[in-house]
Symmetry: C2
Subunit: 282 residues, 2 copies
Amino acid sequence: MELSDYATHSVKVSGRAIMATLNNETRERRETGTLGKLMVLLDMVAYADGPLRFTDIAAASGQPRGTLHRQLVHLVEEGLLELDADGRYSTGLRLLELASRSWARNELRLVAERYLRELQDLTGETVHLGVIRGASVIYLDKVEGRQPVRMYSQIGNASPIYCTGVGKAALSLLPDDRIDALLTEVTFQRFTPATHTHETLLAEIGEIRRNGVAFDREEHEVGIRCVAAPISSENLSFVGGISVTGPAYRLTMERLEEWAEPIRQTANRISTGIRIGLGPRP
Amino acid sequence: MELSDYATHSVKVSGRAIMATLNNETRERRETGTLGKLMVLLDMVAYADGPLRFTDIAAASGQPRGTLHRQLVHLVEEGLLELDADGRYSTGLRLLELASRSWARNELRLVAERYLRELQDLTGETVHLGVIRGASVIYLDKVEGRQPVRMYSQIGNASPIYCTGVGKAALSLLPDDRIDALLTEVTFQRFTPATHTHETLLAEIGEIRRNGVAFDREEHEVGIRCVAAPISSENLSFVGGISVTGPAYRLTMERLEEWAEPIRQTANRISTGIRIGLGPRP
DNA sequence: AAATAAGGTTCCAAATAATGGAACAATCGG
DNA sequence: CCGATTGTTCCATTATTTGGAACCTTATTT
């Protein structure tokens, strides 16, 4: 009942749209056959507001019941979905298990680890590492201060590219045509009075390119500011960034300016580390 | 080169074996068609020691090159795998993204959250929440002390059932025939001098049933002890547990005994919370 | 520099798996 | 107890996957 509108829309938008891989000149060819169909279901369940019943999924996916049934059985057998006693589907622990492996071995994360910590020590604020995927930033790691933390919370999270420090910093590395291509897919949602529009974002990109750092001036959330600097592989096969984030009352713009230089330096070190293939032991 | 032996074996063992769902009397029917084949590949990459090249995967999977090629393309298109500039495959960020959603919404975790924190406050030590999947314990959450933490590290991690407090506690809830069924799949690896064998484990299960708590007396790692208590849904459709873990020098057996009662109580509250469907707002 | 090998990719007829309509259970509400 | 709703199974049809072979492309050898 209250689950009846997990929005076919937002599923597609937040879930699948992210799929758009960055270096994909020839878009529109996600012919992944059987797997593609299953992933749509997985997305739907993952991005729903709560567990979904068979009927809900049937309605939203438009698949005939017989087909859907077998698909769900397969997903459950593989542990990608779970079916509880009340007949409701939610995502399976298998995902967590696979992601945990994936995360633990991620090369960028391993290289960046110690630098993030250094930045945290220097600033005392929360440090993030993120990567661009499609028109979103996905956070790969986070080092918080002394607080008792909800660490995982941000990791793996996907945020819009246009109102995060990491997103803007990363964008600034891309050639204009790629930026344009990316931004056509984006709908600019106004999170705060300071959130960018397409035009103001493009204007700021120029500035970011000159400075080598991007600021988030409460553009995503009121009361939250950050400084970020870009990271990339040599051929831009991936781009991302690191940022220092905190409450506006503590992070005045003056203070953020002070941190610009160390952030830029750290980002450069990470980029270099990636390029020369520094393993987990730099 | 150095990747040539990512062990077809350990892939199957650590990866797929975990799939064995608990309440599956009629095993041996993992007919998941296309999806199953792709998951084997995903597992292989996820459980390898590093990125794999096409040829490595081809050799290990035994698939003809043409077939394998298309399968990998599909996995990459869906973001489940990533192909770097050197032609090496590793797991994709899509997994992290999905798992992050999954984790954030997990009902058990949401119910348990505040209780874990309470236990952390009481003991000052690290508290874990885990669930049984096949013959492994998968950690769902972790609350650490004041240290600057590597939070994610343990979450999603799969550990053997027979040498973890949570695993043993959870086992103790199951009827003997199900325990037997589970343990036939298990090879008892000797991690420390105190690690259980099949026989000693069964012996301890009786004791755990009487006490309602399980101890890990340096059975998985020398110098690490823990107390754990079991959690379950009404019909045992899932079983798991919570534990308090720490260094042996601080966690004497006397101290662990003192915590037995609070842990038992907390575990009971969580079980009740689950059963009456307490949402995230208890 | 040419020849050879190894690593990847594309093609296509044959084999296999997915599809979806319909018939069949099970559960629910009155 | 009936009718409605929800979930499951069956099976001929349709679509996808398969795998061998031919084909590129890059390293390696002579």
